[in-house]
Amino acid sequence: MAETIKLSSLAIGASAVVREYPKQGNAFLRLREMGVLPGTTVTLIRTAPLGDPLEIKVRGYNLTLRKTEAEHVLVELLKPST
């Protein structure tokens, strides 16, 4: 399996596939319900002017989440060529 990094350390404009994140907790259940699931591709669009929260594109729409949550989301970087 390829190396995973935190969603919060993704470069702006980079896309990655979600691998895993914590099962418990309100924030993570809501994140699942918003369509961020293991296997989903996400793209980091930008960070807010003060560096937090993050804006990602997932399933064709834009979603914000804080770094504190994004730190727990492990993703696998997609090679730009693919």
Partner: protein, 703 residues
């Protein structure tokens, strides 16, 4: 397949529920279906708006439509979502359980929108699916095959463009059908969870009297609803069902089964498969969309602040300038009306009650209307264009320092104009505790009613004209800064103590920018104004009359001046009574009267001082009052309004909760007297303490 539920009794109009994600165009569709035949209220016990309306079927039959709050999931995270869930499950006694459901999905964002639809299909009631914004989807290169979807799901699927009214006739036709089919959709519940679903469903139908299909849907919901938001007015579950639920959860925890996660996964698997079948991609545009291009400016590290600053300045200027004209007009006409009554009625207590008590009270209620209308017009615009979410996105980092999220920003900022619309705007904050904290601290922002008090006291502070304007402005800015610091300080404190909770989520959609629909914005604005009049107006009127009574009785003998009347009234007696408490702050009983009468509204302090010190002032010229204040003395001959007392008094007005209208609105928005009373206690208590420190320290240094 179970047979359709026969709930459409011939005696009453069928009840339709309108449900959908936020930003899917639900309100536009509701307004288009019902026209102005709407009734806006509140779900008893919670501050969630209840909107019902009547539409007419193609055969002219009335159809009742409930516009339920927008939500992403039936697993509730906020009171809004809890109300949606409870109404759909028939858990609320105050609302009829909808017979049929119209789901609205944004065609440009189908997968996420279908998640809620998928949960609703489980409910086993006839569903009509509306695919809104088909035009936008088409322009983005997505072709959604509604007919294929209809075949897959077995329910009517109606392509629609709610903004231009396209698809409305087809929707009404479908709603007029007597034989709406039930969905044929089926999805695989993960194997480890299936037995739990059946056991909980069985208990729900046995112990909680649920219909079989609803029992299954509710069982599924209970499993994802880890920390289900309970709201007042919904029936609790039976003990047996809760027991079964907990024992399964315990078992899964032991085994390390992620039950909630795998349920969500299976739903999305089914949705992905459906979407692959009904959406034809390929023509999709690559590169940045219009929204992305706007956002690269609006959320830019430099330009973002400029845009936010410009929007907020526009909001403020229009509240201050546009609201002033109608507010003055209302004030003038109320005065004229009082004069007219004075001339036509014989003198006496009844006339005074009408002219000074009732007309004055009504005036103080409707004088807020212009500000409320303007603020909600702006908020409506910001929300319907999508900018509101960006403002929250930009401000979240700062607000999170005190434990709030970006959504508290607009209500707190609006409170600089007036806390009343600010507090009413907190309804956009989903988390109950965050909302309450925002309500509690909002009145600390220096509102426009404090301005006349600050101006009067600054004038008394610097009587000579030689003082540079900078010093006056500096004092004014310090007062605003002090209030702001206080608000953030107390928010921080409350989030750590009284209203301790999880850090608020910032998992929020940034919807694409859209052109606002002015009709919807105007409707929203009028609803807000009406709610204010109906729900807070009566309390404000009542307290205004009581306060008037306190200044007008007991009556002084005929021929005495207003000054003597006020001095010997109940308010005057109270002023004397509180003197021992306020003397350590450097205030005497005459200032005490001002504090008591200005509990009605802060600006009343100025007119009360005018009466107490018998200064003939007008709105344009308060100079005689400054002189009168400077001439005022303690009985022992010391000056009353020393610079130190002026400063202390200003600080008192920064912190003290001197506004009955705010009290009334907080009472309405929190549904109890507990919070407004707490607010009075903590704000006025802080004011007293801070003033004590300032005055005594100042005295010790010889001021």
């Amino acid at each position: 397949m179970s047979e359709p539920i026969k709930s459409t009794a011939p005696t009453r109009a069928p009840v339709y529920a309108l449900v959908g994600n936020p930003n899917c165009g639900k309100s536009t569709l509701f307004n288009a279906l019902t026209g102005l035949k709407q009734k806006i209220g509140n779900y008893p016990g919670v501050t969630v708006e209840k909107k019902m309306g009547t539409a007419y079927s193609q055969h002219g039959q009335p159809l009742t439509i409930i516009d339920l709050p927008g939500a992403y999931s039936l697993a509730a995270r906020s009171p809004d979502e809890a109300v949606l869930r409870d109404v759909l499950l028939g858990r609320r006694a105050d609302t009829p359980m909808p017979d049929r459901i119209v789901c609205i999905a944004d065609a440009t964002n189908l997968e996420r929108n279908l998640y809620l639809v998928h949960q609703i299909l489980d409910l086993g009631r006839p569903v009509i699916l509306v695919l809104n914004m088909m035009d936008v989807a088409e322009r983005a290169g997505l072709v959604v095959r509604a007919a294929r979807m209809e075949k897959e799901l077995g329910i009517p699927v109606i392509p629609c463009e709610a903004v231009n009214g396209k698809g409305l006739v087809e929707l009404k036709l479908a709603m007029s059908r007597h034989d709406l089919p039930l969905s044929r959709h089926s999805w695989a519940i993960p194997a480890p969870i299936a037995p739990a679903v059946s056991e909980i469903a069985a208990s729900l139908s046995e112990n909680d009297q649920r219909a079989p299909l609803i029992a299954r849907a509710e069982a599924l919901l209970l499993l994802t609803d880890q920390d289900s938001v309970r709201v007042a007015g919904s029936r609790p579950l039976s003990a047996r069902t809760v027991e079964i639920l907990r024992s399964w959860e315990k078992r899964w925890e032991g085994q390390g089964t992620d039950w909630a996660g795998s349920l969500v996964n299976s739903r999305y698997d089914a949705i992905t498969a459906l979407c692959a079948h009904v959406i034809e991609r390929g023509g999709e545009k690559t590169g940045a969309s219009a929204s992305d291009r706007i956002d690269s400016v609006v959320t830019h590290p430099v330009w973002g602040w400029a845009v936010l600053g410009a929007v907020m300045t526009a909001l403020f200027l229009s509240i201050f300038t546009f609201a002033q004209v109608p507010m003055d007009w209302i004030g003038d006409h109320m005065a004229k009306l009082a004069d007219a009554v004075k001339h036509t009625m014989p003198a006496g207590d009844l006339r005074d009650l009408i002219t000074d008590g009732a007309i004055g009270g009504v005036g103080s209620v409707i004088t807020f209307l212009p500000q409320i209308l303007i603020l909600f017009f702006f908020i409506g615009l910001l929300e319907s264009t999508g900018y509101m979410a960006r403002a929250a996105f930009i401000m979240d980092r700062l607000m999170s320092r005190v434990g709030l999220n970006g959504k508290s920003f607009i209500p707190m900022l609006s409170s600089y104009a007036c806390a009343i619309p600010g507090i009413m705007a907190t309804r956009t904050i989903e988390d109950t505790k965050d909302r309450l904290v925002t309500i509690l601290v909002a009145p600390l922002m220096s509102c426009s009613a404090r301005l006349p008090v600050y101006l009067l006291l600054i004038a008394a502070l610097f009587p000579s004209t030689t003082v540079p304007i900078g010093a006056k402005v500096g004092i004014m800015i310090s007062m605003y800064a002090l209030g702001t610091l206080g608000a953030f300080g107390f928010a921080w404190l409350f989030k750590r103590t009284l209203l301790k909770g999880e850090p608020p989520l910032m998992i929020m959609e940034l919807p694409p920018y859209r052109l606002p629909k002015l009709r919807d914005v105007a409707l929203h604005m009028c609803e807000r104004a009406w709610m204010f009049l109906k729900r807070a107006g009566t309390i404000i009127l009542g307290i205004s009359i009581i306060l008037w009574f306190l200044t007008a009785y007991p009556k002084a003998p005929a021929g005495t001046t207003d000054q003597q009347q006020l001095a010997q009234s109940f308010a005057g007696i109270a002023g004397h009574a509180i003197e021992p408490v306020i003397k350590p702050l450097g205030f005497d009983w005459q200032i005490g009267i001002g504090l008591i009468t200005s509990f009605a509204a802060r600006e009343v302090f100025v007119s009360s001082m005018g009466v107490i010190f018998n200064a003939q002032t007008s709105d344009d010229n308060t100079a005689p009052l400054h002189d009168a204040l400077l001439a005022a003395k303690w009985p022992d001959g010391r000056a009353l309004f020393t610079p130190l007392v002026c400063i202390t008094l200003m600080v008192f007005y920064v912190f003290a909760m001197q506004c009955i209208s705010t009290v009334a609105v907080v009472r309405r928005e929190t549904n109890s007297w507990r919070w407004p009373l707490f607010q009075i206690a903590y704000m006025t208590g802080t004011a007293w303490l801070v003033c004590l420190i300032i005055y005594q320290t100042g005295r010790a240094f010889g001021f």
